[in-house]
């Protein structure tokens, strides 16, 4: 079955409103399309309407137009030159990985400078990532569709399949967020090169826990670069942690914070040499309790 190109020139779309409303779309559907393509959050019923009615109409239009099989998300942030290049890469990759869902994302799409081109291949089986020329091929299994990572990825990417809405099933909660906070502090001390990836995961979970929109690849990169440029990134990370936990609706957060403080105090008795490091982590838990949410 042919797939559609989901690129939308919003400016043009707005100009031709009189031609397509109400002939093709209702006024409400027109507004919904604008909302969707400006990355605004849709309600559950809007998501339903989008996937059940609007997507199908757009698909049908694309069939008539006989356009290429590409879908562009977050197009307003993608550089024109990179869009052209990414389309070529995606066409070639679609031939190489037959019938596989492939996405291109990352700084290649929006930054003048980039290390490599992030290519994600959705596969039934987990396989090792590898580099081929300037492409970094990452294999992801199908459960990625319901992950927070994918919720971020889908906001700014080029895909050879339409990205339908799927519910996030990742078990992110106060416990997993605390774990990421601990891991991030540890990475900043022990593995600074790897801290970038952990910080990205931390920021995605902080948005989820704190009930704010999940950042796209561009927003994430900007935040990560800004935080890691700081002399003492731990301070800002602690503040993000405190803010997200305070805003979260987790009912057991104070109990969790108290539990962590007790655990670290216990460890400090055995590992006195790391006391100052542990006290740094504990400050985040203490501040949440002090706010008394």
């Amino acid at each position: 079955m042919r797939k559609l190109e989901f690129e939308l020139d919003l400016e043009h779309f707005r100009k031709i409103k009189d031609e397509i409303v109400p002939t093709i779309f209702t006024e409400h559907q027109f507004d919904l399309i604008q909302k969707r393509f400006t990355n605004k959050i849709l309600t559950d019923s809007e998501k339903n309407e989008f996937s059940r009615t609007i997507s199908k109409k757009m698909k049908a239009i694309r069939y008539i137009e006989n356009k290429e099989e590409l879908f562009i998300y977050g197009g307003e942030k993608i550089r024109n030159d990179r869009l052209i290049a990414a389309k070529k890469y995606l066409k070639n990759l679609s031939r190489k990985f037959k019938n596989k869902h492939i996405l291109i994302s990352g700084s290649f799409l929006y930054n003048e400078r980039y290390n490599d081109i992030d290519v994600f291949v959705i596969s039934k089986y987990d396989k090792e990532d590898y580099n081929q020329d300037n492409l970094h091929i990452n294999y992801l299994t199908e459960d990625v569709y319901s992950s927070l990572f994918f919720e971020s990825l889908r906001k700014l990417c080029i895909s050879n399949k339409e990205l339908l809405f799927s519910e996030t099933k990742e078990k992110a909660n106060i416990d997993t967020f605390i774990s990421l906070y601990q891991e991030l502090f540890n990475d900043l001390k022990e593995n600074p090169k790897l801290a970038k990836q952990t910080l990205r995961e931390f920021l995605i979970q902080s948005s989820f826990i704190g009930k704010t929109p999940i950042p796209d690849s561009f927003e994430l990169k900007t935040q990560v670069d800004s935080i890691l440029k700081l002399k003492r990134p731990e301070e800002l990370i602690k503040n993000i942690f405190v803010k997200s936990v305070v805003l979260s609706k987790e009912h057991n957060k104070i109990k969790a914070m108290k539990g962590m403080i007790d655990s670290y105090k216990d460890i400090m008795k055995e590992y006195k040499q790391h006391k100052s490091y542990y006290l740094g982590i504990i400050r985040g838990f203490e501040e949440v309790i002090a706010i008394g949410c």
Partner: protein
Amino acid sequence: MDVDKFKETVKNILGSEIKFDGHVNIVINNIAEERQNLILEWIRNCKKGVNRPEPCKRFKNLISFIYKSNDNKIRGILTKEKNSYFIELFLDKHKYYDMKKRYLGI
């Protein structure tokens, strides 16, 4: 070095009671000796108290040390009972490490 020698060295550092979990054999068989030695060095530093353990939220009497290889492809977790002996060395890929982490609550 082969897996048996690697495990023997780990036992010499941490004690013969240490258990192994994850795809330790595959991990050790597929990396160069230099990288095997980096893992052993990390284990020695855990024993000496140079590395920092983290609490395990799901097992209050346990603490864990985390290992990440420079290329981020190998992850390790060394668990220890508080104020006591080392229990288990886990080495595996990212995916299984995440599952183990969640199990332990780290």
